[in-house]
Subunit: 199 residues, 2 copies
DNA sequence: CTAATTCTGTATCGAACGTTACAGATATGG
DNA sequence: CCATATCTGTAACGTTCGATACAGAATTAG
């Protein structure tokens, strides 16, 4: 075991608290004072653990991704593409509006820094959003090879359609939309899903 | 005519330049230095004309709305609801990705301040986005009374669906999506549009 | 027990923030 | 042509920003 005074805080716990601040105020709106106060630690501890504000932010992104991975796993392993699409959009409708008061409504990857003085932040968020789109596209490409999607369907476009819808739903949620309203929107969106002929 | 030294700048011109800065860097990421430099004026001129940073931002929102009003007018006065939906989404696909280099891709009302230290900013933007949703809903409510939409169609949900899609498309555009890609997404979205029986 | 190591709290750093005081410039009204 | 009014540029205001220097506390290694 390594020497030295042990860390007095749990990394995941302080990341969760920092997430809430970045989420509500945005990357630039979240001051170090806001962050350290919410995390319950002092600046030197923060800098020792995460390097700087951007390092903390990137650690929060990873933590957020880990939280959302469970939904993506369920989506990718759904029995058929239509179920995958439904699980995805209904999952987004649920977590983005029904937060249990633990964080703001919406999606961290959408709200915390779409535009920023430092362009690295929007780019980092965009890459993590694109990762979800790739996961969906990979799933739908396999589906089409297996004949679960019609010949004319474009897996990339379908994946893009779903994440576009999801991101839009998160914006609606951030402005106060309820889970019920989001589910109605998701229902309309899913009625666009290509059906297999004869099914 | 009123006395005093005349203003040396055109209000609309400097608002357009401020819009670009707020759009690219966000409300909090845009410093007064960034703004005055882009606008070509000095701080006292800015404060005399717009009060403060938030006043300037709200003036920019109005200017942005005026720019977008033409599209909304065309959408609301389209011959039938399906055409309105198509005009709306294709219009968004066009202006959000094809900017002519004059401003960042996407939508000002989405990118410039979803999350903010001062919660008034996200709220002001949300209200202006909601205004578009109301215009669409009003249009679709009239359509349903006139029998241009099926009985089961919910005008509020359809309007919400369209702005959700539009906002999502703007996020895709801000991350680099092309007009072509956005139009393909819009095509999928429009295939969800309710058809009149027998048409 | 001592030396070495790592974390913690206090207190503060220079830089950048939004904002404004002030004096000079430029117009109109009489 | 003078008084009044408004705008302009310079220069600076107090505050807050992200980030650290430093000394003391708490641990392990030997």
């Amino acid at each position: 075991m390594k020497a030295g005074r042990p860390r007095s805080f749990c990394t995941d716990t302080v990341l969760d608290r920092a997430m809430t601040v970045f989420w509500r105020k945005g990357y630039e709106g979240a001051s170090l004072h806001d962050l350290t106060e919410a995390m319950g630690i002092n600046p030197p501890s923060l800098y020792a653990a995460f390097g700087n504000k951007e390092g903390l932010f990137r650690a929060v992104i990873e933590r957020y991704d880990a939280r959302r991975q469970e939904l993506m796993d369920r989506v990718v392993s759904a029995p058929d593409p239509r179920s995958a699409a439904r699980l995805f959009l209904e999952g987004v409708a649920d977590f983005s509006a029904d937060t249990g008061g633990r964080h703001p409504p919406g999606c961290f990857l959408v709200q915390s820094g779409l535009s920023c003085s430092d362009a690295d932040i929007p780019q980092a968020l965009a890459e993590h959003r694109a990762e979800k789109e790739r996961a969906l596209r990979g799933r739908f490409e396999r589906d089409r090879k297996e004949g679960l999607l019609p010949e004319g369907a474009n897996p990339a476009t379908l994946a893009s359609y779903l994440v576009t819808m999801a991101n839009g739903m998160c914006i609606q949620a951030s402005a106060g939309a309820t889970t019920k309203q989001l589910r109605e929107i998701a229902d309309v969106a899913l009625s666009a899903w290509p059906g297999m002929p004869g099914k």
